[in-house]
Amino acid sequence: MGKAYLVLMVILLCSKLYESASNSLWRWKCNQSAGACTRVSGDVDATLYPSLETCRLVCGTAGGLWPQPTVGTVLSDGLFQFSLSSLKFEFASEDNDVTTYLKEIADLFNKTLSSISASNCSNTDNTVTISIVVLTNNMDLNWKTDEGYNLEILTAGKENSVKISANTIFGARHALETVSQLIELFSNNNGEVCHVIVDEAKISDAPNYNHRGLLLDTARNFLSISSIKKHVDGMAHSKLNVLHWHITDSQSFPLELPTLPNMTKYGAYSDSKIYHPTDIAELISYAKLRGVRIIIEIDAPSHAGNGWQWGPDAGLGDLSVCINQQPWRSFCIQPPCGQLNPVNSNLYKVLKDLYSDVINMLPKGEVFHMGGDEVYIPCWNSTPEIIAYLGDKPRTTETFLDLWSDYQAQALEAFDSAVGNTNTPIILWTSHLTEVSVIEKYLSKTRYVIQTWVPAADTLPQNLLDLGYQIIASTKDTWYLDHGFWGNTVYHNWRVVYNNKIPTASGTLGGEVCMWAELVDDSSVESRVWPRAAAAAERLWSNLKTNADQAERRFYRHRERLVSRGINAEALTPRWCYQNEGEC
């Protein structure tokens, strides 16, 4: 079957070769037992592939797929040559929204694969038909969404057919992502560049975790919408599905709120560094098409300073205290300082407006992240208004934790009243309030999901699971992408990111890698995040028992894929190691 379509170039070793300084003398051979593509020169051999990329398509159990499919993968070693113009889609669904979505992802698929170098392919006899069946009309992407899919590729004569079936459009999208990773460019004997697809395959796939996220911080430094879209692209190619948007912090408040224009007026870095509601709406639909949901975090009561200064002028008193106070080391853990004022009742009215504006930008029922990390007690403990409010109470840590939890309760009330129900899941970072001994006193396990950011050795995630809380794991000493550039932190390279295993108990919704932005902005954020976020993506999707070394060849391939799709993914090795698998 397949081998019949394998078209190989004849190598002519002649003096011309030296003149052109080309490397076209190299061919790749797949050693199936080792799953390795080996670079060879010289011989003309029918089992050789003309490029590493085509060899990688079919070599080893999962070829060049990233993340590795979970249920089952069978790939033939044959390739079917075709022109992208002879690729057709068929959709079985009758539902309008579903079909619209499928058409759009089909367009994206074509855009991803189209290449200027392949415009001269004259092979129009061979056809590829991708048919997609989606079994439900569910358009929502949340923690319950079934993202699994089945995929089968068959070839009969000049016809190649790709059959996809999935329960939801998101499963279908992932299936198409997988198909795109079974296709490569191919230089044929006629001097043309065509595409090839693996001629026979059978894949059954579904993720291990339903929350597979990347956190972007746009408050320490602003990220342009086009930069954020690049990240969404990278996430789509790696089957990550949550963009956790840490959109504000004490440094800046770039989110424009229609009801509260003062937030950006006082808090944005400049008028060009603002996210308008239209930007957010566009980004949400951009992400949805790529199988990614956006969860907004407005961090509070700490990490809230610039943007909140306007209270006194508006007759509302101090909404936040310690704003930009110096010397900052006395009032916060990172400059500039700022912490919401929990004893000002006007704050909760403003919060309700704020939540209302944010909820209006999001899909109905979307979860919300309230932050809740790193409250710095000395700030509150040095604010006369708060000291007066506490009256005779001893100003102990417990008193301030109670004050904090009162804040949290009232903030939740404001949120519920803005959204009009009392069951929207709220995510909070681990903090003093989430310690095992006190969390049940302060936070309801039916309302709050806890995002843990402790080191891998810390038992807190497991302890919270044991108490019945749902968690999202952001293992600090492996999944913090900002580490290695400040203090005593060390950089976690892709192997460390990949090897991080998080709890498997059902309360674990998943995990996130975190890109805090003190030291990145548009210029370096892509290479800081990619391809490492993709390493976490396979952990969260496939959760293989094996470690990074076994995934190396596929991962190196995926990094190249990200680059070829326009994402500035950092280099992992000298190119020689990519071209000579397993030899470094």
Partner: protein, 605 residues
């Protein structure tokens, strides 16, 4: 954003234009302090607040100079831009810091980017280079994105005089000193006096940093009543890029050159080949690239190199091409055949990184001579030559016939020295029978040992690892590239599974690049030619080349240009942040130094 557009629409109205002009009359008749500038601009603000009263969501900040620091304030209308405050408040934002800056009055004028006049002689040999440089100067102003400039602004007259009008090559002894005076008496004039083209070029770079974009008025301003005398503390100020571990297209390397020119760095050292690839096409030995390049689109042709050399020279930079040997060779070398004595390189089969020139094949040295010939021709420069000589693994050579023959009377290190002498002999032949003045080698066990004295030439050492005291005691010139201080690649962990940790972790922040003074630590200041920051590229490709280099190489640039004794945090941070903005305005990618809030609030982080 929409609001901004309305804002600028109103700017273009006739009434506004007339008003602003009158403001400037008021503004620039004052010549002492910034407080006057503030007063003058406040009149302008009244106008804005009336016109823009209801535009509430537009972000507006103003900066006031308080105790020589710029402090951010909130305002409904902008008054003084951060750039303007930074230039006018304390020290003008120049990078690297000139030797001597005298500002007689803190004063500025709005200039017309379309009317820059230059005055220098067409008779000079360096005339064409100057024309290129002045074109660049004008283009760089364009990149600062001033507004449409529909009304007349001051014309800037630039008068350049050069004493030695024939020196068009940059050498170690080339005088880079300049004197720049900017005055606004009858005319707005910048007078540049330099010994050579290269000094004049630096002066124009400094002049361009006296001009900034003021976003309040959407115009370019120039600081005047300034007198600057400047020259570098060290003659060799370099950036090394490894183009072998991963390949970088020529255009990207040119962008690095652009940033180097802005920083007054003057040596681009390309570690052009290594064991894993050989991307440079050498006319005498094309096979090396044919077999050793990563791909047909991953080569540097002879024309590319010549082009880069000229491009760099215009920017005051010379190109050093290093083909490392006798270690760090492999890819491309064994094109000749398979039999043992025909192999140019041995030991590279089981480990790609361990290839060494084959001492049993004398032809390897002949190939090296061809390489040296080509490198000397392509770089058009033979005062300095880099031979590599990095990390020779002597166990590789142990089994060779050459070693066995000599071993009785010689140690392995002696063998290494004698092989190096053979290489030096090939270099001498390639260089028309005489050694280049400065032959550079990486520091190694050889250069740290007494065998260094047995080399036929007193070589210059590029010192990266270990204690340089024995090298210095022996009186060798040194170029510092201290690992852990001036290495740009460290901190990204191991790149192959067999490594247990990254070679030189952790990451080195820019502050360390700035503070490192090896000539103070090691003494022998007179032997230090300068330094180079090194970017080895195992974990770097196109995507992160620039952000690895900037702003850290700029921090280093001030070290080797100005070598300041102390570091005043406020001064250094605020000038470097301004410089990073300038890099970005010219399309060069630089890593962020901190949250933008810290740039907007100088001294508060």
């Amino acid at each position: 954003m929409k609001k901004t557009r309305q804002f600028s629409d109103s700017c273009s109205s006739v009434m506004f234009v007339m008003f602003v002009m009158s403001c400037f009359l008021v503004l620039f008749s004052y010549t002492d302090s910034l407080s006057h500038v503030n007063n003058a601009l406040r009149i302008q603000n009244t106008f804005f607040s009336e016109a823009e009263n209801d535009e509430f969501e537009v972000v507006r900040y103003t900066w006031k100079c308080e105790s020589n620091k710029c402090v951010r304030y909130h305002t409904n209308t902008q008054e003084v831009s951060l750039n303007t405050c930074n230039m006018m408040c304390s020290q003008p934002s120049l990078w690297p810091k000139p030797e001597k800056v005298i500002v007689t009055y803190k004063n500025s004028t709005v200039i017309d980017k379309t009317r820059i006049s230059f005055n220098f002689s067409t008779q000079w040999q360096v005339y064409n280079m100057l024309i290129n440089t002045t074109d660049l100067f004008k283009r760089n102003l364009e990149l600062l994105k001033p507004g449409n400039q529909t009304t007349p602004r001051a014309t800037l007259h630039i008068i350049i005089s050069i004493q030695d009008t024939t020196t068009d090559k940059l050498k170690l002894g080339t005088n880079e000193k300049y004197h720049l005076v900017v005055e606004n008496n009858d005319n707005l004039e910048a007078v540049i006096v330099a010994e050579t083209y290269f000094g004049a070029r630096h002066a124009l770079e400094t002049l361009s940093q006296l001009i900034w974009y003021d976003d309040v008025i959407d115009e370019l301003r120039i600081l005047h009543n300034v007198d600057i005398i400047d020259s570098p503390k060290f003659p060799h100020r370099g950036v090394m890029i490894d183009t072998a571990r991963n390949y970088f297209p020529l255009d990207l390397i040119k962008k690095v050159v652009d940033g180097m020119a802005m920083s007054k760095l003057n040596v681009l050292h390309l570690h052009v080949t290594d064991a894993v690839s050989f991307p440079i096409v050498l006319p005498r030995v094309k096979q090396l690239a044919a077999f050793g390049a990563y791909g047909r689109d991953m080569i540097y042709s002879p024309e590319d190199i010549k082009n880069l050399v000229q491009y760099s020279l215009t920017r005051g930079i010379k190109v050093l091409l290093e083909v490392d040997a006798p270690g760090h060779v492999n890819a491309g070398w064994n094109f000749a055949g398979e039999s043992l004595n025909k192999k140019y390189v041995i030991c590279g089969e089981s480990d790609i990184l361990n290839g060494h020139l084959n001492p049993d094949n004398d032809e390897a040295l002949l190939v090296l001579e061809d390489i040296y010939n080509d490198l000397l021709e392509l770089s058009g420069y033979n005062e300095m030559f880099h031979m590599g000589s990095d990390e020779v693994n002597l166990t590789c050579w142990k089994g060779t016939q050459a070693v066995k023959t000599k071993k009785a009377e010689n140690s392995m290190k002696q063998f290494w020295a004698s092989y190096t002498n053979q290489m030096l002999e090939r270099l001498k032949i390639a260089n028309d029978g005489r050694y280049p003045d400065h032959i550079i080698m990486w520091s190694s066990p050889l250069t740290e040992s007494s065998e260094l004295d047995t080399l036929d030439v007193k070589v210059t050492i590029q010192h990266w690892l270990g204690n340089p005291s024995s090298i210095l005691r022996r009186g060798h010139k040194v170029i510092y590239s201290t690992v852990g201080q001036w290495y740009l690649d460290c901190g990204f962990g191991m790149w192959k599974p067999s490594m247990t940790s990254g070679v030189c972790d952790p990451y080195t922040p820019w502050q360390k690049f700035y503070k490192h003074r090896p000539w103070v630590i090691n003494g022998y200041r007179e032997l230090a030619l300068g330094g180079e920051v090194c970017l080895w590229t195992e974990e770097v490709e196109v995507d992160s080349l620039e952000t690895r280099i900037w702003p850290r190489s700029a921090a280093f640039a001030e070290r080797v240009w100005s070598d300041p004794d102390t570091m005043n945090d406020y001064d250094v941070y605020s000038r470097l942040v301004s410089f990073v903005d300038r890099l970005r305005s010219r399309g060069i990618k630089s890593s962020a130094m901190w949250p933008r809030w810290c740039s907007q609030n100088p001294g508060k982080c």
